[in-house]
């Protein structure tokens, strides 16, 4: 039906605007706005952290002594390296080196997995010590310490969920590269996924000193 009545002028439109829906800059704007919302999501938690730290600075200090700085440092190194491999993966696809890009992207995903594994052992050891939300041992401690660990589990937990979400996105990207949906000429999806991964990294960079170093 549409073909019958379509006036000739519409051909002209389609002619000078072929692939009208491919707007890389638009996709970038959208992604940055999304990252902004993610930052603001965590901003609420950082606000709570600063308020509670101000009210209970001694208790936060004491609670910080129970943290495993080693696990935290290890995970910082892991995540920073994963950001590097992520950037290298994009650089590789820009130069048309498909399999190099796939290698770097796979390492990023594996590093994400290592991060979660370290996190698992870290949480397990805290829980083994009896420090977990609602535990009798934790509720015996001072208010500030309860809040510290409440925020610790909430913030690192939410961050962990973001790592998982990021990994799922990266796995999709991997499939896209293998199937040549992401190529040398069209890699905006991979770039945006990379931006997301860097965001997850940046949030960790702030979580790390707040929970592991200031004590």
């Amino acid at each position: 039906m549409s073909q019958i009545v379509e006036p000739a002028s519409s051909d002209v439109i389609h002619g000078h605007e072929a692939h009208v829906h491919k707007d890389n800059q638009g996709a970038k704007i959208g992604m940055w706005l999304f990252l902004l919302t993610e930052l603001l999501l965590f901003a609420g938690l950082f606000l709570l952290y600063s308020a509670y730290r101000y009210f209970h600075s001694d208790a936060f200090h004491r609670a910080g002594l129970d943290m495993h700085t080693l696990f935290g440092t290890l995970n910082t190194i892991v995540l920073l390296t994963s950001s590097l491999t992520m950037a290298l993966s994009i650089a590789a696809i820009q130069r048309g080196k498909k399999w190099l890009s796939i290698t770097f992207l796979s390492s990023t995903i594996l590093l994400g997995l290592s991060f979660l594994t370290v996190k698992y052992f870290e949480w397990s050891s805290e829980i083994a010590k009896g420090i977990y939300p609602g535990s009798a041992k934790l509720l015996d401690r001072s208010n500030g310490e309860i809040l510290f660990f409440g925020l610790y589990y909430t913030m690192t937990g939410l961050h962990g969920l973001h790592v998982i979400a990021g990994m799922i996105v990266l796995i999709f990207m991997l499939v896209f590269i293998v199937r040549d949906k992401i190529t040398k000429d069209d890699y905006i999806k991979l770039e945006n996924a990379g931006l997301y991964w860097h965001l997850v990294d940046i949030i960790w960079i702030f979580l790390f000193p707040l929970f592991y170093l200031i004590n």
Binding site: M1, S2, I4, V5, E6, P7, S9, S10, V12, I13, E17, V20, H21, D23, Q25, G26, I29, G30, L33, F34, L36, T37, E38, L39, L40, L41, F42, A43, G44, L45, L47, L48, A51, Y52, F55, H56, P133, G134, L139, S142, N143, G144, I146, L147, G150, L151, Y153, T154, L158
Partner: protein, 541 residues
């Protein structure tokens, strides 16, 4: 349709006809056409609006006599919670942007669609999912009874199913963010050739400011609600005072979103007012840049005033003073808008069509809302009327009398464009008159009762309030009668109304240059913009 004798008015086919592979309802609920999504939103929003109205009517009915004859206290708590949650999160926050904004934003800037059509569809699906999750909360462990603000610590401790309701609102937040993100990108990337920022219609400017508020404020609500869920499900100590938490911090976080949310509700209607006044005055808008910038100014200052919801909530005197001062500042850009609207009408040739009459009703009701807002913004008087019917009255004058009346007015303005048919104008005017009388009978007594000390959210009242309460109850019936007449008239207009041309009102923005209803890609040929949006060559200026 494949007729050679098509008039220019009905050139080609319209977006209402199915051209794709999908048939029936699937052609709508899986469509990425912004116009169809706008209509999906319109239907969903008014469905929930009706539910909210019924709950409101029941609450009023309870007040026919003192003593709680109809509902007990617990049921009444559930009623005002559900009325609030449904009306705020399912109706006024998506409101004009998701419906008319979705439909007209791309057309007004001369684009074929929004920047991310699939995200747009996703946002509608998220809206539906969120609504269903909220409805599920009704059938589990009793109706939520916290009020729409979900204040801690009660929301953490109550046995009713707050977790589900809060999770539903969390999902709705995603829908809102995606709409905002989509609109910002669309406005930056999809404007027609020649359409600079300062050639955009003022409705687009209002949507632009709103979209930023949606993107920047909603995540704060999301995390706040998530924390309630985390506290309830995993018993993590964050806000609960028995675990050292501070409930006032919850209030801060909640209002950091929920005050800007008021501007999500009111900025788009203000944009529609600018369109309607200009069109029916047949004159270029006065102070175009001032109106455009005042939208951004309202959005910005609106961020810094959340503390005025907490004057008696335990914040410091300095904070009270600063928040009160900032609150008064919002009046400046709002005033700029009103003065420019009035100046636009000055020496215009005014055509008293239904949409314009809605704007007149809006200015009256919004003024009462604004002036009562001053009472609440000043510290000394606020302490007297806080948490009384006065607040309820003020809020409904602003959001219902201001925002929702313009939603109705904007529907009357754009319906002929959306469906190519006109409703019965006489009935529309009568409906407005009835709505206006019912509205004032319903809410003005609330201002009086609140001033005399009637607290809000009580399921019963002292005998001294009986007369005012009864006037208010009768007002609610008149209001509903007006709503039914108005909506029936509009729906009848959509299907059976008289066919109208492309530009029944003499509007000058781009949507009036395409056919009614518009073709699937909005324009036969992408327009090139050479004039400012309200160019009237025949008028003196």
């Amino acid at each position: 349709m494949a007729d050679i004798a098509v008039t220019p008015e009905h050139l080609g086919h319209s977006y209402l006809e199915n051209t794709g592979k999908r048939k029936g309802i699937a052609a709508w609920i899986f469509s990425t056409d912004h116009k169809r999504i706008g209509i999906l939103y319109l239907i969903s929003l008014f469905t929930f609006f009706s539910v909210g109205v019924i709950l409101g009517i029941l609450m009023r009915l309870e007040m026919l006599q003192p003593g709680g004859k109809l509902f007990n206290a617990q049921d009444y708590n559930a009623l005002f919670t559900l009325h609030g949650v449904i009306m705020i999160f399912l109706f006024v926050i998506p409101g004009i942007p998701a419906t008319l904004g979705n439909f007209f934003l791309p057309i007004q800037i001369g684009a074929k669609d929004v920047a991310f059509p699939r995200l747009n569809l996703l946002s509608w699906w998220l809206y539906v999912t969120g609504a269903i999750v909220i409805l599920l909360s009704l059938f589990q462990h009793g109706l939520p009874d916290t009020g729409w603000t979900f204040y801690v610590p009660y929301s953490i401790r109550t046995g009713t199913d707050v977790t589900m309701a809060v999770f539903g609102v969390f999902i709705l937040g995603f829908s809102s963010i995606l709409t905002g993100l989509n609109f910002i990108t669309t406005i930056h990337r999809m404007r027609a050739p020649g359409m600079t920022f300062f050639k955009m219609p003022l409705f687009v400017w209002a949507l632009y400011a709103t979209a930023w508020v949606q993107v920047i404020a909603t995540p704060v609500l999301a995390i706040t609600l998530l924390l309630i869920i985390i506290e309830r499900v995993f018993s993590v100590g964050i806000f609960d005072p028995s675990k050292g938490g501070d409930p006032v911090l919850y209030q801060h976080l909640f209002w950091i979103y929920s005050h800007p949310a008021v501007y999500i509700m009111i900025l788009p209607p203000m944009g529609a007012v600018s369109e309607i006044i200009t069109t029916f005055s047949h004159r270029t808008v006065f102070g175009y840049k001032a109106i455009a910038m005042s939208s951004l100014a309202i959005a910005f200052i609106g961020y810094l005033v959340w503390g005025h919801h907490m004057f008696v909530g335990g914040i410091s005197e300095t904070a009270q003073f600063v928040f009160s001062l900032l609150t008064f500042l919002v009046a400046v850009p709002s005033g700029i808008k009103v003065f420019n609207w009035v100046a636009t009408m000055y020496k215009g040739s005014i055509d008293l069509q239904p949409p314009f009459l809605y704007v007149m009703a809006f200015i009256f009701l919004f003024s009462i809302g604004g002036l009562t807002g001053l009472v609440l913004g000043s510290l000394a008087t606020d302490v007297h009327v806080t948490a009384t019917y006065f607040v309820v009255g003020h809020f409904h004058y602003i959001i219902f009398g201001g925002g929702v009346f313009i939603f109705f007015g904007a529907l009357h303005y754009w319906l002929p464009k959306m469906f190519g048919r006109m409703y019965n104008k006489k009935v529309a005017n009568w409906a407005l008159a009835i709505l206006f009388i019912g509205f004032n009978m319903l809410y003005f007594p609330m201002l009086v009762m609140g001033y005399e000390g009637m607290p809000r959210r009580y399921f019963t009242y002292l005998p001294q309030f009986e007369t005012w309460q009864r006037i208010s109850v009768v007002g609610s019936w008149i209001l509903v009668a007006g709503l039914i007449i108005m909506l029936t008239n509009l729906i009848r207009g959509v299907f059976k109304g008289e066919k109208v041309g492309n530009n029944p009102w003499g509007g000058t923005t781009l949507e009036w240059t395409t056919s009614s209803p518009p073709p699937p890609e909005n324009f036969e040929e992408i327009p090139v913009v050479t004039h400012e949006p309200y160019y009237h060559p025949e008028a003196a200026n």
